[in-house]
Symmetry: C2
Subunit: 341 residues, 2 copies
């Protein structure tokens, strides 16, 4: 058994809800030759569930340790799949039948991941991949839980996190996310747009794999506001933010009418598109990249990626879940973490 190299990248993967497709798509990804040897992989979740999934969907060797143990040494093996169990009873887990204990273990896996990422900081480069959880179930145990992004933002004390949807055809950054449409114009400030742009510029190689990218910025209003006739936010808020960001990086265009922007972007005219609100960016994105889309979070202590789908309880355990999006998420995490070295 070889010893891990100095600075060998580590990818921490949280199990997600054990009754969902998480364990299955993690193991199917491990079975993919395209991921072999790219990094040291550490899955954080229930040992028994991961062992069963490994047997069923992979066949490779796993090494189960406890969080208590890893808390001190934070040391993982290069030739096996490392599993870190955060501890606690989980009871019987049946695919497709989520339980409170399962949701609790999924949540405990998130906090364990935060701990391991923090402890390993400075020892080796690391990235984080999350399998899907049931927000509703976790919220019933831990009120206030909204989702992975918000959880990690708090856990890592991050000021601004940016969500990036990376797909084969489009890469989209919604500047505002889960807020009602009536509040969008009010939340959208010059500062928020500029900071988001700067975070994207800083991470452009991680996002796109290349140094030179063309960034497009959507307008807020129809037809880009038509010179102020259909809204003034383009001139008052978005254009100044774009001008400010151009002092750092010049290859930015916009604000541009969203219906023109996505037509051009999908033909390759833009590498990264900033959308002003959720549906403006996500409706075009999911239309063409639903099956391979990866959700990336910037602004945390580590780059975090996740497949762009949910727990899919309806097909869990049937062996038919596609690991395409999970594999893409892991590859993107590897790219991010290799970028760091």
């Amino acid at each position: 058994m070889r010893i891990s190299r100095i600075n060998e990248p580590h990818v921490f993967i949280t199990m997600g809800d054990p009754s969902g497709i998480g364990p299955e798509i993690i193991m199917k990804s491990m079975a993919s030759p395209s991921l072999e040897g790219l990094a040291i992989f550490v899955v954080i979740g229930d040992g028994g569930t991961m062992e069963a999934a490994a047997k069923k969907f992979w066949g490779g060797k796993i090494s189960i340790t406890s969080l208590r143990e890893q808390r001190e040494k934070c040391s993982f093996l290069p030739d096996v799949l490392n599993v870190v169990d955060p501890g606690g009873e989980i009871g019987e887990i049946l695919p497709g039948n989520p339980t409170d204990e399962g949701a609790q273990k999924a949540l405990d896996s998130l906090s364990a991941a935060v701990e391991l990422v923090q402890k390993s900081s400075g020892r080796y480069p690391s990235a984080l991949v999350t399998a899907p959880v049931s927000k509703e179930r976790i919220a019933s145990r831990s009120p206030g839980f909204i989702g992975h992004t918000e959880y990690f933002q708090e856990a890592f004390s991050s000021e601004l996190v940016t969500m990036v949807m990376v797909g084969r055809n489009l890469t989209v950054v919604p500047v505002t996310r889960h807020i009602p449409i009536k509040d969008v114009a009010g939340v959208l400030t010059e500062g928020l747009i500029e900071k988001t742009l700067l975070q994207v510029i800083e991470n452009r190689v991680i996002i796109s794999g290349k140094e030179e990218v063309k960034i497009g910025v959507c307008a807020l209003n129809p037809h880009g506001g038509e010179g102020g006739k259909i809204g003034t936010e383009e001139e008052d808020v978005i254009a100044p933010a774009v001008r400010a960001a151009k002092n750092i990086y010049t290859n930015i265009e916009g604000p541009m009418s969203a219906d023109v922007m996505f037509y051009k972007a999908v033909k390759g005219g833009f590498d990264i598109v900033l959308a002003m609100y959720h549906d403006q960016g996500l409706a075009p994105f999911k239309m063409v990249d639903f099956d391979n889309g990866v959700n990336m979070t910037l602004g945390l202590n580590v780059v975090r990626t996740s497949p762009d789908h949910g727990t899919a309880f309806d097909i869990a355990g049937k062996g038919i879940a596609s690991s395409e999006s999970m594999e893409a998420a892991i590859k993107l995490a590897v790219r991010a973490v290799s970028q760091d070295t």
Copy 2:
């Protein structure tokens, strides 16, 4: 020369800005074998411009009459392309160089079209196709001109007009159109959504070519409001409108998160999608159907269609403009008018 049949459908086509690609794409469409004999075609615009365009891009026979003449008889020939000149001097027209006189003639062609449609009402079924105008240029002659849709709405004294974007991959109806994002939630009422749905249901065969269609209704907010956590308009406004419309026609689904809706629709899951606002529908639509999209207006005295692009002054006169969208617009008009008979 044959005499037109009783009830033979008529398609009135307005020239658009004479310095734009309108005359070219009209004549290229006339040259398309797929349109031959489908209807009696009447182009309303400058006689000289249309004659020159016919020579350059078609080669067929045209018959030029004046609006004054047609005002009385409203009678057109089946074997030639009828051109009705609304009168007035136009001066020299150079492709790509819009003039005030050209814009005035484009506007006069619209009012002439309204007159002919009204005069011919009851004599034969008719539809209207509009080539692109320069809104800015017309507005500088006739302040208050916003666009074709609003012009015809006023000219025909229509209470509610609905814009339908018909493409090969998607058909989208934006319930609200050219208003700032901050005003969308306020403008969106249960009554407006219901009336729009009813207009779509009534015209579903014209829109889609079939009696049985599946209609999808988008939510307003991200994730469809997530049960009220991200906005309440889904429950308060959209769902009641959908329920009311289902009393007339049952095959309607929604409100559904827009990013799920368009993913499903583009795979054939929905024939017609109602979007709550401009970009929600138009960004996905133009991304996949920009080149072939047709803009259809319901709620006027006639069905009106138009290609989903502008005057394209930059390529006018070069002979490179694609008539794909114009031909699709004419075909859709023919379908609408044949439906009437």
